[in-house]
Amino acid sequence: MSKRIDVKDLNVYYGDFLAVEDVSINIEAKSVTAFIGPSGCGKSTFLRTLNRMHEVIPGARVEGEVLLDGDNLYGPGVDPVTVRSQIGMVFQRPNPFPTMSIRDNVLAGVKLNNKKISKGEADVLVERSLKGANLWNEVKDRLEKPGSGLSGGQQQRLCIARAIAVEPQVILMDEPCSALDPISTLAIEDLINELKDQYTVVIVTHNMQQAARVSDRTAFFNIAGTGKPGKLIEYGDTHTIFSNPVQKATEDYVSGRFG
């Protein structure tokens, strides 16, 4: 239930502006890959191109290939809706649907893809997804209450439950802990460690300790200056990136000398 992603020579544009230049990267299945780098280096933009969420912004487009187990996401006739149902996403700020109950939030994606689901199946799925997101024990008695009544960390785990309920191949996380307190962050990090048994996880983070704690491989993105495109500087095992990077810029960044 997880696939690898291979990106070949990807350029991302906003209109005429080149935002991310020439990225090639191989993301392994059933592993956690972290993207780190200073603000504005294009790591979030690049993450969004992995499930075509960048297309929400008018004028955004890409050149190059993103292969999900060999299938090009940008091939002719590929529907972004199908891509997104296979590559889920968790956002920077928790965004459960405020008008839905906790239960309906978990089922939101499932009901899109598979309209007819019996109540029994739905119950099983809700429990499995919430357990998978380490949230079941906290909410099992109030599944019919609104998701917006939960704490920030719980809301974010609810969003993860919602994402895994559709059984995606890959889960993308765009700074999932940046709006959370340290204890909630720890809960999410534990969860990421468990998720990689089943899913391919890609996480963007500003927190280098977090990248070091949760990821197997780390990609460092950087930008030469304002108005210049972001680039992938170095990619390798997390241990290597943090202890013995090849590039000077990577070493400066991970040791806190800039950014």
Partner: protein, 310 residues
Amino acid sequence: MTATPLTSTQGAGRAGDKVFSGATLAAGCLILAVLFGVALFLVVQAIPALTAPADKIQGGQGFFAYIWPIVIGTLIAAAIALVIATPIAIGVALFISHFAPRGLASGLGYVVDLLAAIPSVVYGAWGAAFLAKEISPAYGWLAANMGWLPIFQGPASTTGKTILTAGIVLAVMVLPIITSLSREIFLQTPKLHEEAALALGATRWEMIKMAVLPFARPGIISAVMLGLGRALGETMAVALVLSSGALTASLIQSGNQTIAAEIALNFPEASGLKVSTLIAAGLVLFIITLAVNMIARWVITRHKEFSGAN
């Protein structure tokens, strides 16, 4: 550096605060006073009609017998207007906010706002002189083919000056109100929720069903209620379009009357008890509008827990 004493109550900031809070309080009280004044006027002026013996009231059967057909007529006309206008308005608003390319969207929004600027007498003249004539063949068809429904019972009016025509004209008039308010609400849908839906693999329409419409629901209700307020109170267009008469179930025969048009048509020549009968009718319209607004508020607050405001 000298420390500022904490107990100081002087300074321009304090005075400004007081003036401002006084001004807002006065404005708030003024609204209440005006509303109370209008209500008081209506009640006082209506009392003679409400207490007069039945045979003195127009129709000779008392105020209640006089008022209820035009209350029903008012509600029918407003209901027709909302049934036609609401889906179109929501559709147009969604098109402008989520489907149209940016250039087209702003142009279209401007045109819709322009519709609201047309005076109601112009709509009335258009309805009476053009729409009624053009639409009467359709009424003939409805009477012939769907006449078994009481609301389409024949014989259809040949002039087309029916409550259905009046309702259609009202629909055109409330359309811009509902459209522009709904559009504003749709545009305020948090990007976060739209992206949440899209990232789950929702199509654009599914995203609208999941994120936009639930978020906008209270706003849509408010917009519809504002439209309803206009439809209930609209006078000139109905007075010009409708060939009024006794209450009938059929929407395509001449007949029926609305409160506002009844007041406008009869007030200039009224005197004595007739004036207070008409003002009592106005009081009834005021109460209906008030009730509609309160029901709308109740509907909105009923789902507060799920509104996203918490």
